[in-house]
Amino acid sequence: MNDVYLPNPLSNPASDRANAPPVYLDNQASTPVDPRVLEAMLPYFTIDYGNPHSESHAYGHRAMAAVDQARGEIASLIHADPREIVFTSGATEANNLAIKGAAHFAREHPTGGGPQDRPRDHIVTLTTEHKCVLESCAALEREGFSVTYLPVAESGRVDLAALQAALSERTLLVSIMAAHNEIGIIQPLAEIGALCRARGVLFHTDAAQALGKIPLDVEAMKIDLMSLSGHKLYGPKGVGALYVRRRPRVRLVPLIDGGGQERGLRSGTLPTPLCVGFGKACAIARDEMAGEAVRLKGLRERLQAGLAGRVPGLLVNGDLDHRLPGSLNVSVPGTTAPEMIEACSSIAISTGSACTSASVEPSYVLRALGLSDARANASIRLGLGRFTTPADIDYAVDAIVAAAARLRHRDQVKSSGGTTT
């Protein structure tokens, strides 16, 4: 079919651990591309390379047909209509478009807003949201919008009574993440949606982490805007989408205007292979999500049990009952996350969100949960994924336990921190 050299993304068999690095446990930061996704994308790189907006010839038609099929797969996974899916360059752009786009539309169309024809100009979000949500809100504050940043309980979940109390006749939009990127907790989406709908408030959710991991239904959950990402779901980087409700219609001012693609909401040539890959990733998730959730939850419990039994004083951060199946966040007393990351160099773990993890400050999310600085500083994020095996978990437990022991005894041991075993 093609002559492109394709390394196998899964070429780290569990039986061949002599040379690390074998274990990737940072699936919240980014996931490996599923080989089935890659296979679906390849023809659109090399054979059907037309510009999907070229309506004058067959190459363009084939590209657009592929994009539309992908749009349908994405819509199907969240129980939406394909016409409600707007492709973007990723979840960051989708979040920016949802929040700024809704706010700018309200400002430009005051009669569509609240009482006295005054535009709704108030936004409610959580202190634990992803940076791109918080920064979009901050940008709107500089433009004169008001934003309420609600605190969360130690579980990480929103306090629905506090949310209800924060809504006013001026409130335009609530933005609350579906499942959290650092601690993995899942918010009560249907309850939030019902609360917002009753008050005529738009409900936006950043579902980059949740998509394909837990069931999402924009109708049942009364979601108006939902941000999605390809590379968190074994699809490619560089593509995401925003779900934009049609009935009742949610209107946005585009961030990027031009050729009028995506029904005027997002101009720019669509990257056909990336759209196809994202669509395929959603189709796979739809078929496999239920079974995969059970498998991952079992692995996560194995990981948690393994660590809890061998790391004295281990603490789990965030609610355990409402949690993504593959996500665990723990604090290892007597260590700091940067030390642990260095000491566990044969497994990929992280401290908080990758976007800010180049700086190794304590996570603002964990501090917002009310955790002490020491506990927040000692927290590591473990993200299991589709290609994580039981052997990976056992290897990781051994590595983390060994690293924790070394770090706690570092004064005596003077270990270099190397972990090749």
Partner: protein, 374 residues
């Protein structure tokens, strides 16, 4: 695909270069997020930064001048909306992504060849209004006509303005130097030079800054948030521009095509410097829509102007700005070649075009338009 397919719509998008495909396949096998601190992340970061240097070299710029974006459209927005200048001037033949980024912009007229009117630009800037940002493309996507951008830059800078140059179509098809152009902002797109769709860049001239359009995780030195499109970035860097030999070969093919049609065709912009790969060809008396449909049935893929106008085969704003007569403008198709275009493909196009013209107009009545029969 049948062996008779001839793709001559390279200005809409190009096939991926094999080098780019290989680089992308390799990067798709990496799972790291470039912002992660572990070794997977550092490996991804290394590739992003290596690619940044390669893309910068394409524009003769230092690596840290390159801000990766989702494509040319976003880069154009980042320059025009992020420059902080309240006054925007754009040439009348700019791409729709520039026109739409600044819908209230003042338009700089062009002459009959599509060349921006420098005296008019100077007059607009000399009226003592607020400092402006001025956007003039390096080469036009529909006609290939190359603008005198150095002169534009000098006029703009003399007035205290900033100069944005959309080099999306020019990159890879002619030598490119940020310093020689004198631009404060330069837009590039990968999928016009044999790289993938979904990735582009804004190159910043010394001292220029753009306020971010997308807020978030602080990627791209806080100039563009969002996880880096590692695969796209790797493909962009590997796509590399044509070398001089390729320009010469493509230009010779394009010139042969134009010469073959010459007795019956009007070539827009033929008298001024153009990209070596682009020809805006009018078949007087036959609508562009009729031509592209008939050529498509014959296996030849061309377009009637920009692809992003999304199927609307309406009058081209570029040709209108050049005051091309409506009868010619409505009969103009865009033929654009690339590095793998062959002599056989050019012969295929010439045969198809000539046959179409013969069937539609007959040999002796060149201006008596009749509906296409086939």
């Amino acid at each position: 695909m049948s062996g008779r397919d001839t793709y001559l719509d390279w200005n809409a998008t190009t096939p991926l270069r094999p080098e780019a495909a290989a680089a992308m396949a390799e990067s798709l096998a990496l799972c790291g997020n470039p912002s992660s601190v572990h070794r997977w992340g550092r490996e991804a970061r290394r590739r992003v930064e290596d690619a940044r240097a390669a893309v910068a070299a394409l524009a003769g710029a230092p690596a840290d001048a390159v801000v990766f974006t989702s494509g040319g459209t976003e880069a154009n927005h980042l320059a025009l909306l992020g420059s902080g200048r309240g006054r925007v001037l754009v040439s009348a033949v700019e791409h729709s992504s520039v026109l739409q980024a600044a819908p209230a912009a003042e338009r700089i007229p062009v002459d009959g060849d599509g060349i921006v009117d420098l005296a008019a630009l100077a007059a607009l800037l000399g009226d003592g209004k607020r400092p402006a940002i001025v956007s003039v493309m390096l080469a036009n996507n529909e006609t290939g006509v190359i603008q005198p951008v150095r002169e534009v830059a000098d006029i703009v800078h003399a007035s205290g303005g900033l100069f944005h140059c959309d080099a999306v179509q020019a990159a890879g098809k002619m030598p490119l130097s940020l310093a020689e152009i004198g631009a404060d902002f330069l837009t590039l797109s990968a999928h016009k030079i044999g790289g993938p769709t979904g990735i582009g860049a804004l190159v910043l001239g010394g001292g220029a800054a753009a306020a971010p359009l997308l807020h978030g995780g602080g990627q791209e030195r806080n100039r563009r948030a969002g996880t880096e499109n590692l695969t796209g970035i790797a493909g962009f860097a590997a796509a590399k521009a044509c070398d001089a030999g390729e320009y010469d070969r493509v230009r010779a093919l394009r010139d042969r095509l134009e010469a073959a049609l010459a007795p019956d065709a009007v070539i827009v912009g033929a008298g001024v410097p153009r990209l070596p790969n682009t020809s805006a060809v009018a078949m007087p008396g036959v609508s562009a829509e009729t031509q592209i449909i008939a050529l498509d049935l014959d296996g030849v893929m061309v377009s009637a102007g920009a692809a992003c106008s999304s199927g609307k085969v309406g009058p081209s704003h570029v040709l209108a700005a050049m005051a091309v007569a409506p009868g010619i403008a409505g009969a103009t198709i865009r033929v654009s070649l690339g590095w793998s275009t062959s002599e056989a493909e050019i012969a295929h196009f010439i045969d198809a075009w000539t046959a179409l013209r013969r069937h539609t107009l007959g040999r002796r009545t060149p201006l008596a338009a009749t509906p296409v029969a086939a």
